[in-house]
């Protein structure tokens, strides 16, 4: 078998194998059972004492949301201040300037909502202080926020009736101390030993062999890159993200970075089964997600490995695949695998430039973000999937003429309204944003000429991608888009906020409402949700709601480009 294909197969296989025990571990620590990391408990108690927090107090679902939103608001203000004044703050050896207010707004939101859309380049647009105290910090805490919200939903789905759904701070802090920090430390150490910088001096000036003067950007990169991948954040230390040879120096670092970004979203699925003691349920979820993932992965690998037909036409040798925007050390297969894992999961880091991918690959990446539930981001991916499960239960219930029930709780009008609103929010934000931008551009192509690096269908795809990435809290981009303008900074900023908090509030509210309801024990008339049949049902609900809603837009962009190229 081809070495490149074998590589991605091994990366995926090892991720699944490790996600299962990690899932069991996650269930153990969130349940509060005995685990081998209990030696960290005194340390956590110290954190709670500093915070003045009683981590044993149960919270209702509205209390969870208030706690979550309050702490997020504090982070937003902090990040906004850092970006606006970074030029005058310490740890700025390269003397990079402060951000403009609209760019700071976009960047602060972007990292606050785990999106990591970047309208700046790390080398010149951020300082070591902002990279650490704003960006790295948010990369830890926003991942933990998503995980904590997810555990609240797990709690609500337990048997019986409950008002209190655990303690938000408890889940949040444990996610950092017992999951994110230890794994990030291991990954960062691997990175520094493979050649990723972790230093505090500024650029290194040197004269090359041919006599050119260059400055090599460095900095405390390894620590940030580890959590950037692990927390499915995706915002790069350097402008070229994980395509940069210091951010991702070798095939090994590429495999490790790609491995950890898939790890927690997968483990969360298995944790769900262990937490509720219903392992079959997590197999169903894992099965649906994996089928969706593979359906997007296969065409992408195929088209990237086969190269650009327009270049083949010139006669060049494309045995290595479509090499525009790709690095030789990774090759086409690992770049395609990275592209799809980073879009189905809302990580959004890149190791090759998505703007230069083949049209079908670009479409698969768009679809990954449009569905946003085939694995999905840490914690929140599962929440998105949960919304689709609610809808599928309701439709299945109607089809077979039974009261729709999920795990012994009736799904009624109120829950359905929330679920449908959340499911439709995503296409609404993406399509409205893209339509408004396309309208602006078409009305005055000369004024907005700086927006699009590519003409025609591909230019439309660039705008569609930007809003899809913002709404999916993904953060990757078709970076040919000239996006550091007030329009793009503000519009995508607003989309990012709505698309982060509503899809957390919605599922937590549904779960909270369900938890209060009377528990109906399973009987012969119960709709079983842990079966393959129900899995197929969920798959089609996702496909119809999330994917087909976008078909017209995809036809105008990547599909039209595909048929002009081939």
């Amino acid at each position: 078998m081809n070495k490149e294909l074998l590589g991605i197969l091994l990366i995926f296989g090892s991720t699944v194998l490790l996600a299962i025990p990690l899932g069991r571990y996650l269930a153990t620590i969130y349940r509060g059972d005995k685990s081998w990391t209990d030696f960290l408990a005194p340390f956590e108690r110290l954190l709670f004492r500093i915070g003045g927090i009683d981590a044993n107090r149960g919270m209702t679902w509205p209390q969870h949301l208030v706690a979550l939103l309050t702490i997020n608001l504090a982070w937003f203000i902090w990040a906004m201040l850092v970006f606006c004044f970074q030029g005058s703050l310490p740890l700025n050896p390269d003397h990079n300037p402060s951000m403009t207010p609209d760019q700071a707004f976009n960047t602060a939101i972007s990292f606050l909502v785990n999106c990591n859309l970047q309208h700046y380049s790390g080398e010149s647009g951020a300082t070591y202080f902002s990279q650490l105290f704003a960006i790295t910090f948010l990369q830890f805490v926003t991942a933990a926020t998503g995980m904590a919200a997810c555990v609240v939903v797990f709690n609500a789905l337990k048997e019986g009736t409950a008002e209190k759904l655990g303690n938000f701070y408890d889940y949040f802090v444990k996610s950092i101390t017992r999951v994110l920090l230890p794994i990030a430390t291991v990954v960062a150490v691997v990175l520094v030993f493979q050649g990723t910088p972790m230093n505090w001096a500024g650029k290194a000036p040197l004269v090359t062999v041919q006599g050119d003067s260059v400055n090599v950007s460095r900095g405390p990169a390894a620590a940030m890159i580890a959590i950037k991948e692990l927390g499915t954040n995706g915002g790069g230390f350097f402008g070229a993200n994980s395509a940069h040879p210091l951010e991702n120096p070798t095939y090994l670092t590429n495999a490790v970075e790609n491995f950890v970004l898939v790890l927690i979203p997968l483990a969360m699925v298995f944790a769900f089964g262990y937490y509720l003691k219903r392992p079959r349920l997590s197999y169903m979820v894992f099965g649906v997600m994996t089928v969706g993932f593979l359906l997007l992965l296969a065409p992408t690998v195929y088209y990237e490995m086969h190269g650009n037909p327009a270049i083949a036409h010139m006669g060049a040798d494309q045995r290595l695949g479509a090499m525009e925007g790709k690095e030789v050390r990774f090759g086409a297969a690992a770049s395609a695998y990275w592209g799809i894992t980073n879009t189905v999961i809302s990580c959004g880091s890149v190791n090759s430039m998505h703007d230069s991918h083949m049209p079908v690959s670009g479409m698969a990446e768009l679809l990954g973000m449009m569905t946003n539930a085939f694995y999905g981001g840490v914690g929140v991916g599962f929440l998105n999937f949960f919304v689709f499960v609610i809808i599928a239960v309701f439709i299945s219930g109607l089809m077979v003429g039974r009261t729709p029930e999920l795990l012994g709780k009736k799904i009624e009008a109120r829950e359905m309204k929330i679920a449908i609103l959340i499911a439709l929010l995503h296409p609404l934000l993406i399509l409205t944003g893209t339509a408004m931008s396309a309208h602006l551009y078409a009305g005055n192509p000369t004024e907005y000429a700086g927006w699009l690096a590519n003409p025609g269908y591909h230019g439309f795809s660039e705008m569609l991608y930007e809003f899809t990435s913002s709404a999916a809290n993904n953060g990757s981009g078709f970076e040919g888009l000239g996006d550091n303008t007030p329009w793009w900074n503000i519009s995508t900023g607003v989309v990012m906020i709505l698309a982060r908090y509503l899809p957390i509030i919605g599922p937590v509210a549904i779960a909270g409402l369900l938890a209060r309801k009377k528990f109906i024990p399973e009987s012969a008339g119960t709709l079983r949700v842990d079966t393959a049949t129900f899995g197929v049902m969920v798959f089609f609900v996702i496909w119809i709601i999330a994917a087909l809603a976008f078909f017209p837009a995809l036809a105008l962009g990547p599909l039209a480009e595909h048929f002009t190229l081939y």
């Binding site: 430390t185 062999v209 925007g325």
Partner: protein, 186 residues
């Protein structure tokens, strides 16, 4: 919300010490044991730093193995890809021009022997590598410019080829060219 604000701020402060001071300090300490001590792996010649092992640099003279086209022109403080779409006519014209130039500079080479990475820009603009084929196709030109035996230059490329267990084989252009200089000086 008000009652939650103070705990939120205090917890944030504590976590900041953990994630932004202690954790980076630990990684910085670990980096001291790593090659390059966390400052990037530098390569020196005659006591002068001529580059970073992992950061590609511009080689466009006929006597050197040329590196890939770069959208960042190998400015190592402004990494960037071209972000050109696959069907962009302007972009395709640039690729065609690169191919024609390459064929002109390397007489005797057919288009079908030119690996695509030599006519396309990398993702970072700082790709330090070529595929073995991308280096081998340049051997006749380099040998001629250096007045070296082709076979010796080809052996050099083979010696510098890094073969991993997984992933594509590759050649570090900087290391290859330094070895080439050493060979020519002998």
């Amino acid at each position: 919300m008000k009652t939650q604000l103070l705990p939120a701020l205090r917890l944030t402060l504590a976590l900041m010490v953990l994630c932004c001071v202690l954790y980076p300090a630990l990684i910085t300490a670990a980096a001291q044991l790593a090659p390059g001590h966390g400052a990037g792996v530098q390569i020196s010649r005659n006591g002068r730093v001529v580059g970073f092992a992992n950061v590609g640099q511009k080689f466009d003279k006929p006597g050197y193995f040329n590196s890939r086209p770069s959208a960042a022109d190998y400015h190592a403080d402004a990494s960037s890809g071209s972000n050109k779409g696959p069907s962009n006519p302007e972009y395709l014209a640039v690729v065609k021009a690169r191919l024609d130039t390459f064929l002109l500079q390397n007489p005797g080479v057919k288009a079908a022997d030119v690996p695509a990475e030599l006519v396309t820009a990398s993702g970072s603009g700082l790709d330090p590598h070529l595929s073995p084929a991308g280096a081998l196709v340049q051997v006749p030109r380099v040998a001629r410019a250096r007045q070296l035996d082709e076979a010796r230059v080809r052996t050099l490329v083979q010696q510098q080829t890094e073969t991993g267990l997984l992933g594509p084989d590759h050649v570090n252009v900087l290391k290859l060219n330094l070895a080439l200089d050493a060979l020519a000086a002998r």
